[in-house]
Amino acid sequence: MGCAPKLPPYGRFLGISVETTDAGPLFCMPFTPTVVGRPQFLHGGAIAGLLEIAAVGTVMAALAEEPGASVKPINVTVDFMRGGRERGTFAAAVISRLGNRIANVEAFAWQEDRVKPIASARMNLMVRRNG
């Protein structure tokens, strides 16, 4: 899991950056006008977007040694647990299973305290491997 995954244009639209940690990639989304929902709160769509980027990016990092491997989203279930406030949001994902065809991933988003998540997502991805 050494190299940080490359973000798509949508990740840059949300202002997301990635850093590599021992536990895998850590995704950060600053609070900007682009991600505001109701006044003073993050938009659920932006939180879901961050969680999906974290889930996909973490699987792509795990597939980094397989050139040409790609993933496609099948579905995602997002639980919103706390309102996102006017500060930066972090996200990381845990791969429950990385199979030949399917990856099951759980992503979490938090703000000031990692043990108080603002949202989580369970995502199923289709994996395409070369050869």
């Binding site: 949508y10 639209f13 938009h43 659920g44 769509g45 977007g49 639980d79 919103f80």
Partner: protein, 147 residues
């Protein structure tokens, strides 16, 4: 500019138009295209900065979630007849197929059950043919004004 958020109980359509123009919804550029008694249809134009896969040019899934969250939210306000602040409790989306690059995405949200504190919604998104949807959504909202 009037503030549709305080006090709650204002015209749902005025509030919906205001909400659609602000923040994340405004940045995505989604717009209301059709409305019914308990449903709303929104459009999201294809944009290169919303691409999720640079090789194929396919739109990311996040903007489609945001579009469906907004369409189903408006459906709740219309069915209730007043604007009340609410938060998404959970949302599940099935990506039935990739959206065709260049096509405008239409998201239709419907509120099929409303209680005092919870709204149950569902919806579909398509990119030209409603019979060939790209995504299916089920979600719940909770009212946040404790009324």
């Amino acid at each position: 500019m009037s503030d549709p958020f305080t006090p709650s109980g204002l015209d749902p359509l005025a509030a919906a138009r205001m909400v659609a123009s602000l923040g994340h919804n405004g940045a995505l550029g989604s717009r209301i295209v059709a409305l019914g008694d308990d449903w709303a249809e929104l459009a999201l134009d294809y944009r290169e900065d919303l691409i999720g896969d640079e090789e194929t040019g396919v739109l990311a899934s996040g903007p489609i979630i945001a579009l469906m969250d907004m369409a189903t939210s408006i459906a709740v306000w219309i069915k209730r007849g007043v604007f009340r602040p609410q938060a998404t409790l959970d949302l599940r989306i099935d990506y039935l197929r990739a959206a065709t690059p260049g096509h405008t995405v239409i998201g239709r949200g419907e509120c099929y059950r409303l209680t005092r504190r919870i709204a149950f919604v569902r919806g579909q998104a398509h990119d030209g043919d409603p019979a060939d949807p790209i995504a299916n959504v089920v979600a719940t909202f909770m009212m946040t004004d404790e009324a």
